[in-house]
Amino acid sequence: MDDMESGVVKKFMFVNRKAPHGTVYALEVLEMVLISAAFDQDVHLAFLDDGVLQIKKGQTPAGIGVKNFSPTYRALEGYDIEKLYVEAESLAERGLTEDDLLVPVEVLSRAEMGRLMAGMDVVLTA
């Protein structure tokens, strides 16, 4: 992988807008995020709209027969992925607060999230 030594560092943002479990996107985005850690890029994760549910505490999907991948969000820190942003309005609309979340995040207003997105080089959404 030449890129790991190419020296180019871009601002990547992975935008999570979908609920976990109903679709595979949350899980496979996480696989993307973990791979991106190997490329020494400036990685950002944004959770907005139903995406905030991806990092809800207490997920126990055994009863629906699917894998519980939510502990992986806690492992991100070990990959030096520490820029996690959550949209305040998205939490509020769903009756959630920061205390409901699995991992430490920075809570941004929708306006702040929009400005943060505007500064990115590569935005990946599913």
Binding site: H21, G22, T23, V24, I64, G65, V66, K67
Partner: protein, 119 residues
């Protein structure tokens, strides 16, 4: 009571197949009959025998096969939808059969209830 089940989406990408499986199991546990499970649209992708999900995740195709083995459930893949998407006899998992869309209409007529799972 006779239930028919329609699965509109492929495995993993959507929860539809997982939900349909759980519904079938619960219906059988309660003594109901599953007249047929019909796979249409991307649902045909449930029937590939080439899928190998990570070992710590469920294998949806295998779950269908087990349901078919344990309870003789008729798993029917739409021939036209399958051809379009590359599900043919050559990669069809055991326990599934390929047939026409008429099998779905027939299921709608013969079963007491038709329950659909999709995107």
């Amino acid at each position: 009571m006779k239930f028919a089940v329609l699965v509109n989406e492929g495995p993993y990408n959507h929860q539809a197949a997982d939900s349909a499986l759980q519904f079938c199991k619960a219906a059988l546990d309660k003594g109901h009959e599953i007249f047929r499970v019909f796979f249409y649209y991307d649902g045909v992708n449930n029937a590939t025998r080439l899928g190998e999900p990570p070992s710590d995740d469920r294998n949806v195709t295998r779950n269908w096969q087990k349901l078919a083995e344990d309870h003789k459930v008729d798993l029917v893949v739409c021939v036209a939808a399958g051809l379009r998407r590359g599900i043919t006899e050559s990669n069809l998992a055991q326990g599934f059969r390929i047939s026409g869309l008429g099998q779905l209409i027939e299921a709608g007529i013969h079963a007491d209830r038709l329950v659909t799972f999709g995107d």
